[in-house]
């Protein structure tokens, strides 16, 4: 590990379901270096989103610790979460540091493939565009840590691939640590440096594999053999 890694240890995360308390995450520990992209793979309902909420600090009710790289956090939630009463540019300015002028906002939008979209309202955007705005918003805080929850869900394959390319390019260019969840193995292998698989109940870290040494194709075969559920979803992930 180089300077200022992301360091996550979740010994146990409980959830109150009715009157009894159920453990949903157990013994999950990993780190990530700046510029590294981790893909968190798991079947639906395993607690991927909970893990991300713990990583960004929205959920503090767990046993363990999270050390985030110093700097700001950019997050893409599963839904775009844009304020409908604000224009796209104002949605970006909402989170941007003070003094982010129109030119800076437009520059971020151009990077995200949305030139000239600043004056539009979220209701005028397609889901794919709204996701891009959410990505632009996450990037305009110049984050040290970027967390993406199912960024490709319910997008068609072409759109998902183009969004994945934008994310990968930005992360490498700015040396951002990135963690994303997906249940789409193809996208995970396309964008990530490492693949983490959660499985079981409570979910534990069942695999933590770097893609580079084996190559995506070989790793794909290995993962599908070990975790058949990874092959059960379509090309771009659906619920």
């Amino acid at each position: 590990m180089r300077e200022a890694p992301l360091d996550v240890v979740i010994r146990a995360k409980g959830f109150r379901r009715g009157s009894r308390r159920e453990t949903i995450l157990r013994d999950i520990a990993f780190s990530a270096a700046p510029g590294e992209v981790l893909a968190l793979l798991a079947p639906s309902g395993t607690g991927k989103t909970t893990a991300l909420r713990i990583i960004v600090g929205l959920d503090r009710d767990f046993d363990g610790r999270v050390i985030r790289p110093p700097g700001r956090v950019g997050m893409m939630f599963q839904e775009p979460r844009l304020a409908p009463w604000l224009t796209v540019a104002d949605n970006l300015r909402l989170v941007a540091p003070d003094g982010h002028d129109d030119a800076a906002v437009e520059a971020v939008l151009v990077e995200a493939g949305l030139p000239g979209a600043g004056s539009r309202h979220p209701r005028e955007l397609s889901l794919g565009m709204a996701r891009r705005v959410a990505l632009a918003r996450a990037l305009c805080v110049t984050p040290a840590l970027l967390v993406l929850d199912e960024p490709f869900a319910s997008l068609d394959a072409a759109l998902a691939a183009s969004l994945a390319r934008s994310i990968a390019a930005e992360v490498k260019r700015r040396n951002i640590t990135a963690v994303l969840t997906t249940h789409d193995l193809t996208q995970a292998l396309a964008i990530a440096d490492r693949v983490l698989v959660l499985s079981g109940r409570p979910a534990t870290l069942a695999a933590d594999l770097a893609i580079a040494p084996r190559g995506p194709a070989a790793l794909r075969g290995e993962l599908l053999a070990r975790f058949p559920f990874l092959g059960s979803v379509g090309a771009s992930g659906s619920y």
Binding site: G57, L58, F77, P84, D90, L94, H121, R123
Partner: protein, 259 residues
């Protein structure tokens, strides 16, 4: 059905005018048939009285006093009520603590509040405005509390993750969501406020529409009562249509566009 819209609006406008004309006609007929003209003076008589009071300056002066009290009490009750309502909507503990107070305040007769304010604070404008504020505030609290409970938790998490500064959070995330509730509270609030202000003036102020009404009551001047009552209602109608309704439309604009 867009092309039919202006025609339909014109027809509705005509119906409104006819309705008002019918009311005036009925009033005039009742005044004609009533055995005592001082018990129910006709529309022209009332209008003449109002005109004379306007020329003498009494009517505008009293309306100005009342409007000033309405403005002060309305502003105070909206500011305090919205703050308390927001707090109660966000914090379960604050809600548990303050809810009984709100229920008592909602059910306390306005008259009791007014009399106690005059006894404790004195026969002055501070007491008058405070009494109206206290009487009006609970409904603002209840309405804004509803709005605060309905705030989008997703946007709140967003603000938390991105460390959006408190003031920006209030202006850009919270207030736009509360705006329809504030508009509703303001709209019902204004009509309640001016009615309470008249009672407060009647009980202990040397000027204002309520004071004038009391004077006319003691002199058995029905024309005066009708002239002041209708003139003031007309002024409040103008305030409502010129200020409150446009603001409410603006506050709801993004929601309507969404639907």
């Amino acid at each position: 059905m867009r092309p039919a819209e202006p025609a339909r609006r014109r027809a509705a406008g005509l119906d409104r005018l006819l309705s008002i004309a019918a009311f005036l006609l009925l009033w005039w007929l009742l005044a004609r048939t009533s055995h005592s003209p001082s018990l129910l003076p006709g529309p022209w008589h009332v209008l003449a009285f109002a005109w004379q009071q306007t020329l003498s300056g009494d009517l505008p002066r009293n309306i100005a006093f009342t409007l000033a009290r309405v403005a002060a009490a309305f502003t105070l009750s909206m500011l305090l009520g919205a703050s308390v309502g927001y707090l109660m909507g966000r914090s379960r503990r604050a809600d548990a603590w303050l809810d009984p107070w709100v229920i008592i305040a909602l059910n306390l007769p306005v008259l009791v509040v007014v009399i106690l304010a005059y006894i404790w604070i004195g026969l002055n404008d501070v007491a008058a405005v405070l009494a109206v504020t206290v009487a009006k505030m609970p409904t603002v609290v209840v309405t804004v509390r509803e709005g605060a409970r309905a705030l989008d938790p997703g946007l709140e998490e967003l603000a938390a993750v991105y460390h959006v500064p408190a003031l920006r959070r209030l202006r850009r995330i919270v207030l736009p969501q509360l705006a329809p509730y504030l508009a509703a509270a303001g709209r019902s609030g204004l009509s309640i406020t001016w009615k309470i202000v008249l009672i407060v003036e009647l009980l202990g102020r040397p000027n204002g529409v309520g004071f004038a009404l009391n004077l006319f009551f003691q002199n058995f001047n029905v024309a005066g009562i009708l002239a002041y009552g209708l003139a003031f209602a007309a002024v409040m109608l103008v305030v409502e249509t010129a200020l409150v309704q446009p603001w409410e439309r603006r506050a709801r604009a993004w929601r309507l566009a969404d639907a």
